[in-house]
């Protein structure tokens, strides 16, 4: 019997490269894990897909009331509800992704301690499953655009780039936090706090020009700022600072690679510590 392949198991330490061969070998499992997460989430909730859109929708209504009506915050063009929802849709995806994925390894302890497969599948799969929610929100956004007679332009073709950037940012943070969460369960308590802070430092509920001009370059360091601005520009035709968005997109790639490296470095200890 000719061996189908030869494998050497030996100690590893320090930084690990991504083992693409392994990822490709187990790609079907990634599909199954995503499919599992989607199934489970939509099976037990009565409101099914509604839940996915309810969260940004209710947030949009509250923010419209509080910030637009009470505090007098205005959008950079489109009606405020549309403006807020176009920002809240990717933001909700991001915040749910970060909180779900950071807890994903611990939630899947059984898998981590009993079976081998590339561990990155667990946080990445949990985030990929949330893309379904984002699609539902986008459908609602299109509905709102019809309601407000706001037309879509060919700029919408850029949307996949920003969805990808949102995915990369959420994954970068999710990968790192999930790895830390294995050893330090306190991560669970700090994540909601961090996400809440993030909402206010990202121009989700206010337009970019509310930020003093000298601080604006710093906004570009926030990968989600580019995503939110990009969503608005692509869908609503809001004015965009492309230099800032480019920097922000670059940051999301950097964040993803950084998260992946941290994850790979800590990976070998997961089963021993979890």
């Amino acid at each position: 019997m000719a061996p189908s392949f030869e494998l050497v198991i030996k100690p590893r330490s320090g930084w690990q490269p991504i083992d693409w061969k392994e990822v490709i070998l187990h790609r079907e499992l990634l599909g199954f894990l995503i499919w599992r997460d989607i199934k489970i989430r939509y099976r037990q909730t009565l409101l099914v897909g509604l839940w996915a859109v309810l969260q940004p929708l209710v947030a949009m209504l509250i923010f419209t009331f509080v910030f637009n009506r009470l505090a007098g915050v205005h959008s950079d063009g489109p009606p405020y509800p549309l403006f807020a929802f176009a920002g809240l849709a990717p933001w909700t995806f991001f915040s749910n992704s970060v909180s779900t994925s950071s807890n994903s390894l611990v939630a899947n302890q059984q898998l981590v301690s009993k079976i081998y497969f590339p561990r990155v599948f667990i946080p990445l799969g949990s985030i990929a499953a949330l893309l379904v929610d984002l699609c539902f929100s986008l459908v609602l956004l299109f509905g709102l655009m019809i309601k407000y007679h706001w037309s879509l332009t060919y700029h919408a073709l850029l949307l996949p780039i920003f969805v990808a950037a949102a995915f990369l940012s959420a994954s970068g943070i999710g990968l790192a936090l999930s790895a830390f969460n294995v050893s330090f369960r306190d991560i669970k308590y700090t994540v909601p706090f961090l996400i809440q802070m993030g909402l206010f430092v990202t121009p989700v509920i206010y337009p970019l020009h509310y930020i003093p001009a000298r601080l604006q370059p710093l906004v570009g360091l926030n990968p989600m700022a580019g995503v939110v601005l990009g969503f608005r520009s692509a869908l609503l035709g809001s004015p965009a600072d492309w230099g800032l968005i480019r920097l922000s997109l670059l940051m999301s790639v950097v964040l993803f690679i950084g998260g992946l490296l941290i994850f790979r470095r800590m990976e070998s200890r997961f089963a021993d510590v979890i």
Binding site: M1, P3, S4, F5, E6, L7, V8, I9, K10, P11, R12, H26, E28, L29, F32, R36, K39, I40, R43, Q44, Q110, L111, V112, S113, K114, I115, Y116, F117, S183, F184, R185, D186, S268, A271, D272, V273, I274
Partner: protein
């Protein structure tokens, strides 16, 4: 032949949180707290204070080869390193030193039903679990009907498994695992689940797998299963490989090493043992235990194995009417067996004087598995001259007494017996030995 799996100086070291044992998460609390105080120390290179932590070798210098087609049973006490070995082989955790070279597709089964989700239906879980165990989607589809048939849960295939009974759950889980088709299969204790009938089925399937020329590494506490399935046995003790040889010898070695670590040696000093309040000469000096092949028995004996007890005592004047009795009491202190020299018809040794060794030979000790306390006494004529109440404790360990892979779960002792269907006038099959009816022993 090139070995299919090579273990070379494999070692695994765990860092302990203070003096606690490894493994459980709570025990890492102290380690966590310390790390939380300086989280960046961990991110950076290991700091000196981490290096000074207590360390523990779960495995040390394990070297052996597994050839294609080998079915290897891995035995050892809890904490001997068996699970660590399997975890390294399954790539769940990394070794600290050494390496394993694996030449072939390996599937590991450290638990049945890994990744089963209660909300998903039986059908969905078959696919998910199959994928988790490393099957391709096409492979699962092609074996789907077989898996369902084996699991016997056809009717509930579209019911979420949270509504399954535990038996159904386990059957479905094992069914998926049983249809894995790797070149090397690594199995941990999975047979300790399900009802007897299903366990039998699992053992049968395992047997089929091992007969099919597959390479299997099997970790178990179930000596019956090891004896049945494996032709080679490996014993781990405190992280080291202490025995590597044929399965039967490995089981014996394991049992002896276990008893050696726990109870007593195979020689028991009776001279200094506690006696009752009556002052009698301490005639009984010592007793020695041996099992199959005259190997010393240090407290653990396989069910159905031979037991030889050598009793040492001196005789101050020439006598021939000395008797030795040994009683076996179970854990409820009920006498389950008495062996006595008065039952020996051939007492042609004549009058004897000086140190004696009286040997009791039990060709097959058929008590059911469990712990027994031995009482030994000596009579000369009608006088009981010595008695040691709690002379020794032995542990009868399950073995494949019936040759079916099934251990008795009830009763006090086992005996060979047969079952058959009587068909018309054909009566009993010819191979059945006539049952000899014991003579009625006249009252003394």
């Amino acid at each position: 032949m090139e070995p299919i799996v090579e273990f070379r100086n494999l070692s695994k070291e765990y860092v302990l949180g203070s003096a606690m044992r490894r493994g459980r998460h709570e025990n890492f609390r102290e380690l966590l707290l310390r790390n939380l105080k300086a989280p960046f120390q961990v991110l950076a290179r290991r700091q000196p204070d981490l290096v000074r932590e207590e360390r523990f070798w779960a495995l040390r210098d394990i070297t052996f080869d597994v050839n294609p087609g080998d079915v290897v049973g891995i035995m050892g006490r809890n904490g001997a390193g068996k699970s660590t070995l399997l975890k390294i082989m399954s790539r769940i955790t990394d070794p600290s030193e050494g390496h394993i070279k694996i030449r072939g597709r390996l599937a590991s089964l450290l638990e049945v039903g890994t990744g089963f989700h209660p909300e998903l239906t039986g059908r969905e879980n078959i696919f998910l679990n199959g994928a988790i165990l490393g099957m391709r989607k096409t492979e699962i589809i092609s074996k789907f009907d077989e898996i369902v048939a084996f699991s016997e849960v056809e009717r509930f295939l579209d019911t979420p498994v949270k509504h399954y009974s535990s038996g159904m759950y386990v059957r479905l889980a094992f069914a998926v695992a049983a249809h894995l088709n790797p070149e090397i299969l690594v199995v941990d204790e999975v047979l300790a689940v399900g009802d007897m009938a299903f366990q039998k089925k699992c053992l049968g399937k395992m047997n089929e797998v091992s007969q099919g020329g597959r390479t299997v590494l099997f970790v178990s506490h179930n000596m019956v299963a090891v004896e049945n399935l494996c032709h080679r046995g490996i014993v781990l003790s405190h992280g080291k490989l202490t025995f590597d040889g044929n399965a039967k010898e490995a089981i014996n070695f394991y049992l002896h090493s276990v008893s050696g670590e726990g109870s007593h040696g195979h020689i028991i000093d009776l001279a200094s043992a506690r006696r009752g309040p009556l002052r009698r000469p301490r005639l009984l000096q010592k007793m020695e235990f041996y099992t199959d092949g005259n190997t010393p028995m240090k407290g653990n004996i396989l069910m159905g194995a031979a037991l030889k007890i050598r009793v040492h005592f001196p005789l101050s004047e020439p006598v021939d009417n000395f008797q030795i009795g040994i009683g076996f009491n179970d854990m409820f202190d009920q006498r389950v067996l008495t062996v006595h020299s008065c039952f020996e018809p051939d007492r042609s040794h004549g009058k004897r004087v000086g140190p004696q060794v009286f040997v009791c030979d039990i060709p097959s000790l058929t008590l059911v598995p469990g712990g027994y306390t031995l009482r030994i006494w000596m009579d000369i004529g009608v006088d009981e001259v010595d008695l040691v109440n709690d002379a020794a404790r032995i542990q009868v360990v399950e073995s494949d007494f019936y040759g079916t892979g099934r251990a008795p779960w009830n009763g006090t002792f086992v005996l060979k017996h047969r079952w058959y269907i009587e068909q018309g006038n054909e009566a009993s099959p010819s191979s059945l030995d006539p049952i000899s009816i014991p003579r009625v022993i006249p009252p003394v």
